[in-house]
Symmetry: C3
Subunit: 309 residues, 3 copies
């Protein structure tokens, strides 16, 4: 019996190395599997999705993953067209959805929403992004990309650049990385540094260096993880424009990178990576998005099937 | 051949006891059926949904029901993102949808919309809630819950409490109950009493008593059906607050109820039932929601399959 | 191997007579096929839809077509609930969607959007309506309707009436018709005549006459193609009301038509065809809508299957 059968996926903090490896090797199997066989893994099963924040790739990759396993998806893509408008509580919406599906995925703006919802739900619940810190399936997809594209993870030098203050993908990634022996550099403008009140737990698990210069170690990174810098996070536009320029990855910067370095981004991007970088061999963010479907399919298959596949 | 094959479901008034029993026993079969067999009942069939009012559970329970029968759903969950914005008539939208699906479900704010639409549609059409009086699939689900949870219906004392003036679920429920020998008590604030102009037909079929005290007969009810009380229905807030308190079901009230009484609610609820009641054995509103999927699956299976299953 | 296997459908200008005939005969096969066999044609395949403009029938007919082939659909019905809100480029959205599906359909307000998107997409992309001129699947459906309902196309006298200035269906239809030997009359108010800057290409391929009187040749047409006249296109309401009356198809006008003439409309309609015309034998616009599902199913089947079916 597999450890994930009928379990919730709430936080990447609940994953140790062994659990991560289980998902990664399940993902490898999913990718290599004969499509007809794969479609038996969720045959007749239904994924219920509840998105209280807009999303493209998380929702669509879950739906695509479920379809690839032979299952069906239904739910609420946009909370404004549902009964939440009539004042229904999150608890009741989750409770109802768990009656109508075999596994749930929830995206919600509040920290703790997924853990709370999982207690209500009679079916396994997957956190599709909650609050400011948790996006476990994104972290799994990010790690899988690093490990498969770099063929290893221990010993890698990893730069994480951009807006580190807001954005749950960074926090989840750091928690995930803390299972490995990696050399992490956090690079951000002073005002967008990782929140110290949120890093209590990270600091106990993972050593990292902080700087504000993207160029400083650019030639040393094996992995450069870039995140979106949002204009609305800055007190004034001048400050934003100053910062924006120095955190944009262009061809000139890529040329300074190691030949076998990889560039990741959780997407969507706005201006952080210029589109001409897409053609370089370092650019792996679309591959990363593709792995998002595969890793989610693996998770769903593990949750829905008692025995290994 | 079953009586529902290729027929419309427009009003609960069209259901006599025998027709109701047909749906109930089909629901029992659906629940007990082997999932693989069940998925043959709508194999390759498509449900087209048209929701001109927001809905969570009606739409999702229909989609989940269709998926459990092996079929597919497609449609418009939110009329604002469709051609109705371009001024298309309901008739044309329904006509088109009937070309693209095997059975339709329509929710619409206007009384009579479903009967009108059924005349246009070349495929069977199910009323998913129309105007102020008709919600036949909700009434079927409510009755099924009563009969299965109480093991009988004739002779039961049934309280219906809350906003009885607005809300089609109450009217549909009363029509459905009129097929049985039940003792109905309607309990509401004076300003939210059942509309006398709408009860002409109900009064001919069903005797009921009216009162404004929820507590008066609380220890006698076998079934307590609670509906949402909406703030915006009241002329002033003071009036609302006064009423709200006396129509909230809390643990204290549940303790006064019969041990084997059941509490139902069409959901969504706001404050009418406090959440600590959820854990009592009388609370059956989530079971009721679950039966919503099963009864709808039974209706769809009856409509789509000529022979019994 | 069929010519459409794994190809994009961008513009009706890319279709010659032979390619059109391939789609038409595939459509005939799709219609006559045993449903179980038909559901093998996209078994396990996923259609990704991206709609940046509202649509009912294009999106739903694609979804219904995909379901009839045994496939699944997923995507964005309304760009406002997706990551485009976060500033994601069309290119990135398309790129991602192509990772999560086997074939894409895109509707977008800009001319050229589909050709651009097809270059980005790693999977075949179908233009579901772009800008002011291109709606190739609509034109295919229109032509199929003419040919199957009139049993021929060469030699037909075809009137195209209404707003010819705006509306991509007219331009696409004219391009499609230019493959045949037809006598085309364009009928519109002076202010809504076909745009001369856009007809450079059409004029080289197709001869047509222009007039502003709908009645003039009404008794000669084999086909009357009517389009929506939108109030908001007119500088003042008086002008609109004057024009509206003379471009409305009523029973009186139908009586003047040939007995075996057919009336088409891309739908949605507002007032251009009065509903009592629906019952006449000339009215074929709902049949045309139905063929929309069949022709799209044929296109999808051709794109997804290497060998003929």
């Amino acid at each position: 019996m597999n450890d994930f059968f009928q379990t919730d996926i709430i936080s990447i903090r609940d994953f140790n190395k062994e659990k991560l490896e289980t998902v990664f090797s399940a993902t490898d199997k999913i990718i290599q599997m004969n499509p007809n066989e794969r479609r038996e893994l969720a045959r007749g099963k239904t994924l219920g999705y509840l998105f209280f924040e807009p999303s493209t790739r998380t929702r669509l990759s879950f739906q695509a993953a479920m379809a690839s396993l032979g299952g069906t998806s239904l739910g609420i893509a946009d909370a404004s067209s549902s009964s939440t408008k009539k004042g229904e509580s999150l608890a009741d919406t989750v409770h109802i959805m768990s009656l109508y599906s075999d596994v749930l995925v929830l995206r919600h703006p509040l920290d703790g929403s997924s853990r709370f919802a999982a207690e209500i739900s009679s079916k396994p619940l997957i956190n599709g992004g909650s609050g400011t810190e948790e996006h476990p399936t994104q972290a799994i997809q990010d790690l899988f990309t690093i490990i498969r594209e770099k063929k290893k993870i221990d010993g890698l030098k990893i730069g994480v650049a951009g807006d580190l203050k807001y954005g749950r993908t960074v926090y989840s990634l750091l928690y995930a990385l803390s299972n490995y022996n990696v050399d992490v550099h956090l690079i951000s403008p002073e005002s967008l540094k990782i929140r110290s009140d949120s890093t209590y737990d990270i600091k106990k698990r993972l050593k990292y260096k902080e700087s504000s210069s993207l160029e400083e170690h650019i030639d040393e990174f094996d992995v450069l993880y870039v995140t979106r810098i949002q204009k609305e996070r800055f007190p004034d536009e001048e400050e934003y424009l100053k910062v924006k320029g120095s955190y944009t990855i262009g061809l000139d910067l890529v040329k300074k990178m190691k030949d076998d370095a990889i560039i990741l981004h959780p997407l969507p991007r706005v201006d952080e990576i210029s589109t001409d970088v897409d053609e370089t061999k370092q650019a792996k963010y679309f591959k990363q998005a593709q792995y998002g479907k595969d890793t989610r399919a693996a998770l769903l298959a593990l949750i829905l099937n008692e025995n290994s596949f």
